[in-house]
């Protein structure tokens, strides 16, 4: 049973909202691992759009991605690079 964790800063304009939030959730769903996103004292299931949105994570905020399960490492790596790539947004 693997476990992985990483903290990353949101650099895209809208933060974890709208299109980026959908992309984030859709990406998380591709993995078997249980993935949690934490922002300050709030945390949410990374596969839940309502949960991710309710974090209210904006540009500049730091989020922690925690995954547990066989593909945990892969999941965290993929999600982190999605955030760092600014969700592929041209800004």
């Amino acid at each position: 049973m693997g476990r992985a964790e990483a903290t990353v800063q949101l650099k895209n304009k809208v933060g974890l909202h709208a299109r980026p939030a959908s992309l984030f959730v859709q990406t998380a769903k591709k993995f078997k691992a249980k993935i949690t996103v934490r922002k300050d004292d709030k945390q949410a299931d990374a596969k839940s759009i309502l949960g991710v949105l309710s974090l209210g994570a904006e540009c500049g905020h730091w989020i922690t991605i925690i995954a547990e399960g066989e593909d945990a490492e892969d999941a965290v790596r993929t999600l982190v690079s999605l955030v760092e790539d600014r969700f592929g947004e041209a800004e």
Binding site: A18, K47, I49, L50, S54
Partner: protein, 583 residues
């Protein structure tokens, strides 16, 4: 990018013009009731929830596809968010299941609680964006709850003051809309006598129907012009057009003010013949307006409003209390109460009607209530009791035979004897009449007149049945015209038969409020005209501008006309010759 102005041609349904922001009305508001379920029903309740989710998903996908192809990719994206919510296990699906399982509640309630909690949470967040997402969550909530009822229509939100644009407006939709906020109606479907058209005319709201694909091209918040005189809708008008219509709108208001002088006056011809001008009303909401417009009574009280919103048939007491409210307002003025008039085209939610290939020719009106006399009896008991304090008359709809009248009167006798047994106060001798709206009733008019105290011509159905032309079908709208010579002759036959028998004859169809037909009807000797309240002042002014003598001559000319065109020509030339009263 905003698209430019666009014009749409439809069917004029209610006169006047309106300019305002579009409100896209999408159907499907539902109330949620908390119900406890037995433990053994938990699994089937969860299954029901899951299949509602499946239904909702395929509905959203369809909607997204439609919007994508008809409007654009960008606009379709909002539905992706809806779909993701429908798939959200952690925040939606799982909590609902848990709640059903642990609290033993119905799925509707669980969905309502879970998603409302999310919506509230979003609303409290700082960003504008998140507050808007709360609306998405509520849309999904409404959709799923509607799906749980077994059938999805559309999603709706409460309207602001605006022009209501819709694909179709069913009576229940119209009922839910706050009409005081509606500047105008524009619908893709419907004809001049569709429910929305009737309501619009009643309230004096401009409306255009039969606009085909209008709703696809309008976005919420677009400025829309509704020209109910021309049957025209302009979306996103240029500045000049908008100004022109705003001027027109204020002129209409001016005209209204002049006409309002006639509201309190009596409708008497220049040579002293009085015609009663009554109002058609469909609920408490119309009452004050009708009185303000100068209604001297109610020629048609549609009672369906007492039935459509509940979960079961109303009790005698419930009907009684609603009737009393209305009767009180009208005092001694006659209130003609039509008994329940339902059919496959206007069913009740709790009273399933059989699928009929031809509902207009099927089980409707008195045919239903005679087969289920307990429904009729309950209603009649309430009417008889109210008649003690008000001038209520009873009217049976959809009569085509003498037997039906006699049977209905028997049910009335039963109602009276039950009341007597129960020791309740009621009026013994109410006036009993029928709607004359089938060709059979026209041909039997002389005989029917001996059975009842009054007739009321229902020209909407009468025209449809005489012309064999569906009143909602745009393809036959030319045939569906109460000025067709055969319809006019039928009306003349009925009025003459009533007067031969010495009974009162009125009219409560559209025709009664049409300025073009009023002189003809006055000439034929109609005793009472009952119309949408907003038409009353104009009708009174018109009647005060003509003589009975001239109107009688007009009748001869119209009865010898052979075609619709000839009838219209004769009536129009008469109208042109009128010098409108200015008192």
């Amino acid at each position: 990018m905003r698209a430019g102005p666009r014009e749409f041609k439809g069917i004029p349904a209610s006169p006047g013009v309106a300019v305002g922001k579009a409100y896209l009305y999408i159907r499907g508001y539902v109330e949620v009731e908390k119900k406890q379920i037995p433990r053994e029903q938990v699994e089937s309740e969860i299954l029901r929830f899951k299949s509602a989710i499946t239904m909702a998903r395929s509905y959203i996908k369809g909607l997204a596809d439609r919007v994508r192809s008809e409007v654009g990719e960008e606009e379709a994206k909002i539905y992706e968010a809806h779909l993701m919510i429908l798939e959200d296990d952690a925040a939606f699906l799982h909590p609902v299941e848990v709640m059903i399982r642990e609290q033993l509640v119905n799925a509707e309630y669980a969905v309502d609680v879970v998603l409302e909690r999310v919506a509230k949470l979003f609303e409290e967040m700082e960003s504008q964006y998140m507050r808007e997402r709360a609306a998405d969550v509520r849309d999904v909530k409404r959709l799923v709850i509607t799906a749980l009822k077994g059938k999805i229509d559309e999603i709706s939100a409460p309207p602001e003051e605006s022009v209501v644009v819709a694909r179709e407006l069913l009576p229940s939709d119209v009922a839910q809309l706050d009409k005081s906020k509606v500047l105008g109606f524009a619908t893709d479907t419907g004809g001049p006598t569709s429910h929305v058209a009737i309501v619009a005319r009643t309230l004096g709201i401009p409306a255009v129907v039969g606009l085909k694909d209008l709703s696809v091209h309008v976005r919420a918040g677009d400025i829309v012009v509704v020209d109910g005189d021309q049957g025209l809708v302009i979306v996103r008008p240029d500045r000049e057009t908008m100004k022109k219509y705003q001027v027109k709108m204020s002129e209409k208001i001016q005209e209204r003010l002049i006409l309002m002088k006639y509201a309190p006056l009596q409708a008497v011809t220049l040579d002293g013949h009085a015609v009663e001008t009554f109002a058609n009303i469909g609920g408490m909401e119309d009452v004050d307006y009708a009185l303000k417009m100068g209604a001297e009574g109610v020629g048609l009280l549609r009672t369906e409003f007492m039935y459509v919103n509940g979960r079961r048939f109303p009790t005698e007491e419930e009907i009684y209390s609603k009737l009393c409210q209305i009767a009180k307002k009208f005092g001694d003025k006659p209130v003609i109460v039509r008994t329940l008039d339902i059919g496959a085209d206007k069913p009740l939610p709790y009273f399933p009607m059989p699928e009929e290939p031809n509902p207009m020719l099927g089980w409707r009106g008195i045919r239903v209530t005679l087969d289920r006399p307990e429904i009729l009896r309950t209603q009649l008991k309430a009417i008889l009791r109210t008649a003690k304090d008000g001038n209520l008359w009873v009217m049976f709809p959809m009569i085509s035979t003498i037997e039906e009248v006699r049977e209905a009167k028997e049910v009335l006798q039963e109602a009276a004897s039950e009341l007597r047994k129960e020791g309740k106060e009621f009026k013994e001798d109410v006036k009993v009449g029928i709607m004359v709206e089938t060709p059979s009733a026209v041909l039997l008019a002389r005989e029917l007149a001996k059975e009842v105290d009054f007739f009321s011509l229902g020209t909407n159905d009468l025209t449809q049945y005489i012309m064999a032309a569906d009143r909602g079908n745009e393809l036959v709208s030319e045939l569906y015209n109460y000025l067709q010579p055969s319809v006019v002759r039928a009306i003349h036959t009925v009025i003459s038969a009533a007067h031969e028998a010495g009974i009162h004859v009125g009219m409560c169809g559209e025709m009664a409020g049409d300025p073009r037909s009023i002189p003809l009807l006055v000439g034929m000797g109609i005793d009472e005209l009952s119309m949408v309240p907003s038409s009353i002042p104009r009708a009174k002014r018109l009647i005060r501008s003509i003589t009975k003598e001239a109107a009688e001559k007009l009748v001869d000319r119209v009865l010898s006309a052979r075609t619709l065109g000839e009838v219209i020509d004769v009536l129009d030339s008469f109208t042109r010759s009128i010098k409108l009263a200015d008192d």
